[in-house]
């Protein structure tokens, strides 16, 4: 071991086996971290609650984190209030909504079509939900991965936009991604919203049909972030900047189609995602088989793992998550919340770390978000409650 190796600062990062841990894994496997003079130790975790707790107590310096979890921690909703920062986004999109073959058959009778838009699919689902209610049948059950997750909010947004009350007309339950397909096979759930490869796993197993990607519901929608304690970020600015540069370069490598075969193979290893490389490759190529036996269909900009626009931590994303926490009554709004939310997503750190790497860095901290139902989320119009 050389002296430089011995003194290289170590950063311990926790991750969950999902496609969007790609940049973190590639930063280690392809030497981007070494080039920046840092040594990353990766720890695979089994639950988001563990990621949160181990970040809080300092087992992890940083983590692959659900964007809304970083905001929830800064607000102290659902758990201890520990200010977090999210200075880097780990890509855009990558989620989809899958339903059981039985529910898909009912939806088709109400007008749903394979590859149809979220409005068409949602309207059909809404008719199924109404029919079941008037027949006195049990409400449909949908799985998602965590209460403070984009999956939960995207699923709820879509349901509500087509007239289904996610708290009254259906049941929502949390199930860890690797168990979703089994739960669907066992009839415990009728649908779910999750990141890849877990939708494709259900289709591949012949038990589910993908009804929509969430990028069709919200184009350029955010997902995971790199999260760390605010106190760690303050104490270790150089390490954090080096980590962000390593992740940025790794994300560019991940976004290059020429590397997708290598990346899929890398992620397929049991110590990372532990899913078939072909499924991971298809998701990286934005080609999903929507139904068992169906030919892969291109989903434009389904998952964007890297590049300037996919890694920028937009404060408007954090504000939208907060708006959904309030909308779905996870938190009572307070005037002081807005500052806590805005201080969680940190484009200033992103710009500082990448000043010499990204030439035309984004000047604004927020942008206007537009959804499939033409609703516009304008953070400038968000006023303290």
């Amino acid at each position: 071991m050389s002296v430089s190796q011995m003194t290289r600062p170590k950063i311990t990062i926790g991750f969950i086996p999902l496609l969007d841990c790609a940049a973190i894994v590639a930063a280690v496997e392809n030497g981007f971290a070494t080039l920046e003079g840092i040594d990353i130790a990766l720890v695979r975790e089994t639950s988001w609650a563990n990621i949160r707790d181990r970040l809080i107590v300092g087992h992890f310096d940083a983590a692959h984190l659900l964007g809304p979890m970083a905001v929830a921690s800064s607000l102290g909703v659902g758990h201890l209030r520990v200010p977090m920062v999210a200075p880097f986004a780990l890509g855009l999109g990558g989620n989809a909504i899958t339903v059981s073959l039985g529910l898909w058959e009912q939806m088709q009778r109400e007008g749903a079509k394979l590859g149809g838009n979220p409005r068409m699919q949602g309207t059909a689902l809404s008719r199924v939900v109404g029919r079941r209610a008037s027949a006195g049948e049990a409400p449909l059950t949908f799985g998602m991965v965590y209460p403070f997750s984009c999956h939960n909010y995207e699923l709820r947004y879509w349901l509500a936009a087509v007239g289904i009350d996610p708290d009254r007309n259906v049941r929502l339950v949390v199930i860890p991604p690797p168990y979703l397909a089994d739960a669907m096979r066992a009839g415990q759930i009728d649908g779910f919203c999750v990141g890849e490869p877990w939708n494709s796993v259900a289709v591949d197993a012949g038990i589910g049909t993908i009804v929509t990607t969430t990028t069709a519901i919200w184009p350029q929608s955010p997902e995971k972030v790199l999260g760390c304690r605010e106190s760690w970020a303050q104490k270790n600015p150089q390490r954090l900047d080096a980590l962000i540069r390593a992740l940025y370069r790794a994300s560019l490598w991940c976004a290059d189609c020429a590397n997708h075969a290598d990346l899929a193979h890398m992620l397929a290893a049991a110590r990372y995602i532990g899913a078939p490389a072909e499924l991971l490759h298809a998701a990286l190529a934005n080609e999903l088989s929507l139904a068992p036996g169906a030919a892969p269909a291109l989903q434009p900009a389904f998952f964007v793992p890297g590049g300037r626009d996919a890694t920028f931590p937009w404060i408007s994303h954090a504000l939208w998550f907060y708006s959904q926490m309030v909308r779905w009554r996870q938190i009572e709004p307070l005037p002081e919340h807005l500052a806590a939310v805005q201080n969680t997503y940190r484009p200033d750190i992103y710009r500082r770390a990448l000043a010499r790497v990204v030439r035309d860095t984004v000047a604004s901290d927020t942008k206007i978000e537009t959804f499939f139902d033409e609703t516009v989320f304008d953070p400038a119009r968000m006023t303290p409650p």
Binding site: V57, H79, V173
Partner: protein
């Protein structure tokens, strides 16, 4: 001791660890303990047990399931993650390091809960130590076996006696800065290749 015993629910897929903790909690005076190993119908079990305190092992991916049940279910009294109202993270650290997650129903007397959490943490540590010891014992046994096989190979191939064979292994280990068991493994796999 006029206070009624707290109702405790233990969610653990590892039967050995669950019984170690259950015994420890009983010794500490808890009599009302429910152990859940099966994850299906978890909500039903929680409703039936109506616990004051819930423990779950951190290797369990269903921890996220449990947390969401507390958030949404109207049929469960809302337990919250432990020490939510305290800035002190020492006890969370102790719990996480031992591998246990703890939830308590709001409003319980802190000192009572603290004693129970300490019991859980110390018994998770006991289990970890037993597991480590078992692993070490298995490893030692395996190493002793492989050294015996390597000695046998050297005795046969190089006409050495047992002491000479062991000395040869030890010399190689010292020269190459490796452990004797690792050298022995190389000898055994080389012999298998040459078979």
């Amino acid at each position: 001791m006029s206070e009624p015993s707290l109702r405790i629910l233990l969610v653990d897929q590892n039967a050995d660890r669950a019984s170690i903790l259950e015994d420890g909690l009983r010794e500490a005076g808890c009599t009302d303990i429910t152990v859940v190993r099966e994850m299906h119908s978890l909500l039903r079990r929680i409703v039936d047990a109506d616990p004051d305190v819930i423990f779950i092992d951190l290797e369990n991916p269903n921890r996220d399931v449990l947390e969401q049940m507390f958030q949404v279910s109207r049929s469960v009294r809302r337990p919250i993650a432990m020490f939510v109202d305290q800035a002190d993270t020492e006890q969370i650290r102790a719990a996480v390091e031992s591998g246990v997650g703890a939830y308590v129903v709001d409003g319980l007397h802190k000192e009572r809960v603290k004693t129970i959490l300490d019991t859980a943490v110390s018994h998770f540590h006991t289990f970890n130590r037993l597991r480590d010891e078992l692993e070490r014992a298995n490893q030692q046994l395996e190493e002793r076996k492989v050294i015996e096989r390597a000695k046998g190979i050297l005795m046969k191939e190089r006409s050495l006696n047992e002491a000479e064979a062991y000395a040869a292994l030890r010399r190689a280990a010292m020269n190459e800065n490796r452990r004797i068991a690792d050298v022995a493994r190389s000898v055994v796999s080389a012999a298998q290749l040459l078979k």
